[in-house]
C-alpha cells in the first residue's frame, strides 16, 4: 500500500518559517490522543513517515516531511490544569506561548523561558529545547519542565521526569519530535510582581565590547541581548546595542494590578501610531537590499548612542519579532535563512571577527545580527555552550545561493575549529558531518539507539531528520 490510499484532499504544500523551503505532504490535525494513535496505525499500515508540526515557526525543515504525513498538533491546544498558588501549569503540545502567558500573567506569573516570538507551540519549544534572552541564568525551556507524558509511535504512553525515565526526559526534550509526541506538558512558571521590566539600553562600539558587555552584564541582570550591526567593518566591526532587563521586585510597580493584565501587554496595532502594522513588511521590503540595510543598521546604531532606561511590558520586550506581522515576507521571494553559532567564551571573539569579516568581504552581509549569553545544559541534542551565540539573518536571492552556501560551509569550519555548536531550530544548512562533529559521534549513536527503542518502525521522520541523521 502506498500514499494512493491517503486522500488527495489532505495533500498540501507546507513551508518553513523563512519561506525558503516547500514540501508537499498529507496534513492531518488530530484533536486528541486517540486520533493521534490512529494516525500512527494508518502510517504504519501504508508505509508512510510522520512529522509533527506545531506553529511552523522553525527556520528549517524540522516540521516538513516531503511525500509523507504531517501531523499538526495545533488543535491539541488546551490548558489542562493551572494552579495560581504554585505556578504549575499542565498543557497540551499545541498550546502557544501566547496562550500560556496570557493565561498565567493575570495571576502574577510568566513563562520562565520564552522564544523571540510568542506564536511557537509548547511541543515545538520542547522539541527544539528553545532558549530565551536569559539562557545564561534560566537555561533552556526543558529545565522548567517538571514532567511530561508522551505517546510513542508504538502506541505506548510514557511519563517522563528528570528522575523517572530520565534518559527519555533528556532526549525527547531537544529530540526534534523524532522520539515521540508530547501529549501533556507540566511546566513551572516564574512569579512576577509587575507586568513591566526595567530595561537598560546602551551602545557598544565593537565586537570585543559587545561580548564583554554580555559577559559582565549577565550576572547582574535577568535578561540580556545584543543587537549587532553586521554592516559595520574595520574598527567598528561588531558594534551594536545591548538591552539588559530586570524583573521588578514586589512593591516596585505601584500599578502592578494593571500592568499584569493582558490588555496592558498587547502590542500596538499601528507603528508610530500611523502605519497599520500588517502592511509594514511591504515598506520594509524596500530596504532589504545591501545599501538599504546598511542605512537602516547605521541609523539604528546612531540612535542607540543615546543611553536609555525605561520600563517596558514583558510582551514588548520579549516578542520583538511579533511587532511586525509577517516580517519575514519583507525578505522577498527567496526568503531568508538564519545562521546561528554558539561559541565558548574563550574563542568567540576571534571566530566571529573572522566570520563577520568574511561575510563583508564577499559582499554577503547579514541583514540582522543578534548576540546572547549562554550556559551548557544536560539535554541530548544540546546547542548551548558556556559562551555566546550570534544569530545572523541572510537574504536569499536567485543569484546568491551558491555563494552563500559556500560561505556558510566556511563558517561551519571556523565554528567547529573553535569548539562551537549549532541550533537545529535555526540552522538549515548543517551537514550530517558537521552535526556529528559538534554533537559527537557517541551522542548521535545514542540518539539513534533511543529512537530505535521508542520508534522501532521509524515512523517519525522529518526532512530535517533525513537530511542530518539519515543513513
Amino acid at each position: 500500500m502506498t500514499n494512493s490510499t491517503l486522500s488527495l484532499e489532505r495533500l498540501t504544500t507546507l513551508e518553513n518559517f523563512g519561506h525558503s523551503l516547500q514540501a508537499q505532504s498529507h496534513l492531518y490535525q488530530p484533536v486528541n490522543t486517540e486520533e493521534l494513535a490512529e494516525l500512527f496505525r494508518q502510517a504504519k499500515k501504508s508505509g508512510q513517515t510522520v512529522t509533527l508540526r506545531g506553529a511552523g515557526r522553525s527556520y528549517n525543515d524540522a516540521a516538513l516531511n516531503g511525500g509523507g504525513i504531517v501531523v499538526s498538533l495545533q488543535a491539541m491546544n488546551r490548558i489542562l490544569a493551572w494552579n495560581p498558588e504554585t505556578g504549575i501549569v499542565t498543557a497540551e503540545p499545541g498550546v502557544t506561548l501566547q496562550q500560556l502567558w496570557q493565561h498565567v500573567l493575570p495571576d502574577g506569573w510568566w513563562p520562565p523561558v520564552v522564544s523571540g516570538t510568542m506564536f511557537t507551540t509548547l511541543g515545538g519549544c520542547l522539541g527544539a529545547n528553545i532558549h530565551g534572552k536569559n539562557n545564561f541564568k534560566k537555561g533552556t525551556i526543558g529545565e522548567h519542565v517538571l514532567e511530561f507524558t508522551a505517546r510513542l509511535p508504538t502506541g505506548a504512553e510514557i511519563t517522563c521526569l528528570p528522575t523517572k525515565n530520565g534518559d527519555l526526559f533528556y532526549s525527547m526534550i531537544s529530540g526534534l519530535g523524532m522520539l515521540g509526541v508530547f501529549t501533556s506538558i507540566t511546566l513551572q512558571m516564574k512569579q512576577m510582581y509587575s507586568g513591566l521590566l526595567n530595561v537598560h539600553a546602551f551602545p557598544v562600539h565593537n565586537l570585543q565590547e559587545q561580548l564583554a558587555a554580555l559577559m559582565e552584564g549577565a550576572p547582574q541582570h535577568d535578561y540580556i541581548v545584543g543587537w549587532l550591526d553586521s554592516t559595520a567593518g574595520g574598527k567598528s566591526l561588531g558594534r551594536g546595542q545591548i538591552h539588559a532587563a530586570d524583573y521588578l521586585a514586589a512593591g516596585d510597580d505601584p500599578e502592578a494590578q494593571k500592568t499584569l493584565q493582558v490588555a496592558y501587554q498587547t502590542l500596538p496595532a499601528k507603528f508610530f501610531g500611523l502605519v497599520p502594522k500588517n502592511l509594514l513588511h511591504y515598506f520594509m521590503a524596500t530596504f532589504m537590499i545591501n545599501p538599504g540595510v546598511w542605512l537602516v543598521n547605521t541609523a539604528k546604531y546612531v540612535a542607540s548612542l543615546r543611553r536609555g532606561e525605561q520600563r517596558q511590558a514583558h510582551a514588548a520586550f520579549h516578542f520583538l519579532l511579533d511587532y511586525v506581522p509577517d516580517w519575514e515576507l519583507s525578505y522577498g521571494r527567496g526568503g531568508l535563512i538564519q545562521y546561528q553559532s554558539f561559541l565558548p567564551k574563550e574563542t568567540a571573539l576571534a571566530a566571529w571577527t573572522e566570520i563577520l569579516t568574511i561575510s563583508q568581504k564577499r559582499g554577503l552581509p547579514s541583514y540582522l545580527g543578534v548576540t546572547k549569553r549562554h550556559r551548557p545544559d544536560k539535554f541530548l541534542l544540546s546547542h548551548a555552550v558556556d559562551g555566546f551565540s550570534l544569530a545572523l539573518d541572510f537574504k536569499i536571492t536567485r543569484g546568491n545561493r551558491a555563494k552563500l552556501s559556500a560561505m556558510l560551509q566556511d563558517f561551519d569550519k571556523i565554528v567547529l575549529e573553535a569548539g562551537g555548536r549549532f541550533y537545529f531550530a535555526k540552522n538549515s544548512e548543517t551537514s550530517p558531518e558537521t552535526a556529528r562533529r559538534y554533537l559527537g559521534a557517541e551522542t548521535v549513536e545514542r540518539f539513534k539507539a533511543l529512537k530505535h527503542r521508542t520508534d522501532p518502525n521509524h515512523l517519525l521522520e522529518s526532512d530535517l531528520y533525513r537530511r542530518v541523521f539519515g543513513e
Partner: protein, 260 residues
C-alpha cells in the same frame, strides 16, 4: 531500481521534483540531464533498464549527489501506473513537474495496413499517457500548483499518408492535454504541449526525409525554456510553428494527393 535516496533539499539547495517517463534515450535523456543541471530531483521511468541505470549513474556522478533514480516500467502496463505514480511522489518527497515523453514510431509502408503496429503506437503514445496523466492531474489539482508536460509532435497536427496511427495518437494526446489545460489552469497548474519537429534520435533514423533536424540537447534546451516560461504549446524548434500553420491550411484536395 537504484537504492540511493535523493539528495536532500535545503533553502540554499532548493530542489524541484519531477517524474519523467520515457527517459532512457533521445529527448527524454537529454531533458533529464538538462533538468538535473537545474537542480531537479528526477524519478526517471523507462522500459530499458540498463540504459536508464547508466543515465542515472552519469547524472549523479556529474552532480556528485543523487539527482536521479531509475524506475523500470513499461507504459503499456497501464494497470500499474497509478500505484507507481504514488510511490514516485513519495520517494521524491512531492512533485512539481510531470513529463510524459514515452513514444513509439513504427514505420508503416505507404500501402501497408497493420493493426498490430497501430495498436502498439496507440498504447505507448496515448493509452499510457492517460494512465499516468490522470493521477498526475488529480495530484496537481489537489495541490493547486504544478506543471504537466506532454510530448506531442508536429505529426499530430495533420493526418498524413505516411503515419496514420502515429498522427492520430499524437493528435489524441494534444486534444487530451488541451482539455487538461482547460480543467487545470484555474487551479494554477500549467499544462504544456511540446510539439517537436525532427530531432536527431533513434526515432527518426529510418525516416526518409527529415528537414530542420536539431540535436536532442537543443530540443531539451528549448523544452526547458518553454517550461520555465510556463507556455501552453511550444513547437521545437520554433520555426515549426510557422511551417505547421501552412501545412494545416493545405486544402484537403491537394493534401490527399501528396505522398508526404
Amino acid at each position: 531500481m537504484t537504492d540511493k535516496k535523493f539528495a536532500s533539499a535545503s533553502p540554499l539547495r532548493p530542489r524541484k521534483r519531477a517524474i519523467l517517463l520515457g527517459a532512457s534515450s533521445g529527448i527524454g535523456a537529454a531533458l533529464a540531464r538538462r533538468l538535473a543541471h537545474e537542480g531537479y530531483s528526477l524519478a526517471l521511468v523507462a522500459r530499458r533498464e540498463e540504459m536508464l541505470e547508466n543515465l542515472c549513474a552519469a547524472i549523479n556522478a556529474e552532480a556528485g549527489e543523487v539527482h536521479a533514480r531509475a524506475y523500470r516500467h513499461d507504459v503499456r502496463e497501464v494497470e500499474s501506473a497509478a500505484a507507481l505514480f504514488a510511490q514516485l511522489t513519495q520517494d521524491l518527497g512531492g512533485l512539481d513537474v510531470f513529463i510524459y515523453n514515452s513514444g513509439a514510431l513504427l514505420p508503416v509502408g505507404l500501402k501497408e495496413f497493420d493493426a498490430e503496429k497501430d495498436l502498439e503506437m496507440t498504447r505507448v503514445n496515448y493509452l499510457g499517457a492517460l494512465a499516468w496523466l490522470n493521477p498526475a492531474a488529480a495530484y496537481f489539482q489537489a495541490l493547486k500548483r504544478g506543471q504537466i508536460v506532454g510530448m506531442g509532435s508536429v505529426a499530430g497536427d495533420r493526418g498524413r499518408v505516411g503515419a496514420p496511427a502515429y498522427n492520430a495518437s499524437k493528435a489524441a494526446l494534444h486534444t487530451y492535454l488541451e482539455a487538461l489545460r482547460n480543467r487545470l489552469t484555474r487551479y494554477g497548474v500549467n499544462v504544456l504541449t511540446i510539439k517537436p519537429g525532427f530531432v536527431a534520435t533513434d526515432m527518426i533514423k529510418n525516416s526518409p526525409r527529415t528537414p530542420m533536424v536539431i540535436s536532442a540537447e537543443q530540443a531539451a534546451e528549448d523544452i526547458w525554456q518553454a517550461m520555465r516560461a510556463r507556455r501552453q504549446t511550444a513547437y521545437i524548434p520554433a520555426q515549426w510553428g510557422l511551417l505547421m500553420h501552412i501545412i494545416r491550411h493545405i486544402p484537403s484536395f491537394i493534401f490527399r494527393r501528396m505522398t508526404f
